[in-house]
Subunit: 238 residues, 2 copies
């Protein structure tokens, strides 16, 4: 066993959702020093007595601090150094989670109070956040870069959508994340070949003065499946 003082181990989660079309992250208010009262990413110690692994810790923390269950959740990166926390050498196993906005604060209740939720949580546009305690800004930036990067070649953003959504809505989300307009034809071609969504039964629907759109939902099988990166070098066909 080690004779050195061991680092402190925490799990921090970048919880992302879309609020009014803007990519936003959950911040929670710290109760204890250091940085008591300040807003940080939801995080906490690993509970070695109840968490099976780091992912389980992330799930527990999301539930406890943000009141949210089981969205898309993936390990991001581990931040570990002597300087990131003034209590000493510390390790943060960082995760990022994507959440349909409708699930913020449980079910459709969010439709009524879309921004504020529990007393100690708030949502902020990721590009409006200029500083955070510890190295949480770096963690946030890393997560956002990852999401935007994966948007380029995967269907990751479907996990930000409500249970049923139209292709036009999905395209607007992509355009928001990528920062520019996309061609409708090309967008639909690509989404289709990613094969991650399927038509959903038409709902009674709001009556609007134009052609109603087909609704889609994430395929069950694909729900947690990450598309692999594209091959750019193909071995010759035999």
């Amino acid at each position: 066993m080690p004779s050195y003082p061991q680092p402190i181990v925490t799990v921090d989660v970048v919880l992302l959702t879309l609020i009014d079309g803007e990519l936003s992250t959950a911040l929670v208010q710290r109760e204890h020093a250091p940085h008591a009262g300040e807003w940080t990413l939801p995080g906490g110690w690993v509970h070695t007595d109840e968490d099976e692994d780091a992912l389980a810790a992330a799930v527990r923390i999301l539930k406890a601090k943000a009141g949210v269950t089981s969205p898309y959740l993936e390990q991001l990166q581990t931040f570990a150094s002597r300087h990131r926390d003034n209590r000493g050498w510390s390790v943060s196993i960082a995760y990022y989670a994507l959440l349909p906005h409708e699930l913020v604060e449980g079910r459709a209740a969010a439709q009524v109070t879309p921004i504020a939720t529990t007393p100690h949580i708030k949502w902020r546009g990721v590009d409006d956040i200029r500083s955070l305690p510890f190295d949480h800004l770096e963690i946030l930036r890393t997560a956002v870069d990852r999401v935007r990067s994966k948007t380029l070649y995967s269907a990751l953003p479907v996990h930000l959508m409500p249970q049923a959504f139209t292709l036009s809505e999905l395209q607007r989300v992509y355009e928001q994340l990528l920062g520019g307009p996309l061609d409708k034809r090309g967008f639909r071609r690509r989404i289709e070949e990613l094969d991650i969504i399927e038509p959903a039964p038409r709902e009674p629907g709001t009556r609007e003065a134009h052609r109603p759109a087909q609704h889609y939902r994430v395929k069950r099988r694909a729900a947690r499946l990450l598309p692999t990166a594209p091959r750019n070098l193909d071995v010759k066909s035999a």
Copy 2:
């Protein structure tokens, strides 16, 4: 501060090189229980008194256990659970490193004894390894998958090459990693546009009965730069 027993924190490194064209990894012999005498990935505790961060710990461990300095080194993934080590809840911040074979056991000495090196280190082809203590096989597989995946769209394998190499040699490495023949023309087009290598001054050269090849070296600026993933969705030109 946490009232729970804290996890044990280690750093493990998957050190990869090419031996006779085969992707191989370094294994070191454990001195202490558990698994004393068995071969595992080089790893060790984080030394909170001397390591600035996890990367520094990886560098130190590589030097101490494998006698190797400063190859390409990148964080892979963190493996953290109650079950991976029977001493209790443990965290492994895993790194992977790429090493030109000529640097194994320092300089060109490796040319003479290419396989065996120090008493407590050995090299094995990654596909020949069927089991390892702890979850080291999973860590190894994850690293190999990552390298092979990045080979598809980046110039990562140049870090496995000696200081100067020809495009034909590089292509053979790619073919080895990807498991099939590549078209010469397409391969050279792609490497060129990655813009990561530059012509090296011709060496006196071995006299062979055919046209000699241009030698290349990794560009200084690009030495540690990872190419970004390709964009497959382009925002419309304004």
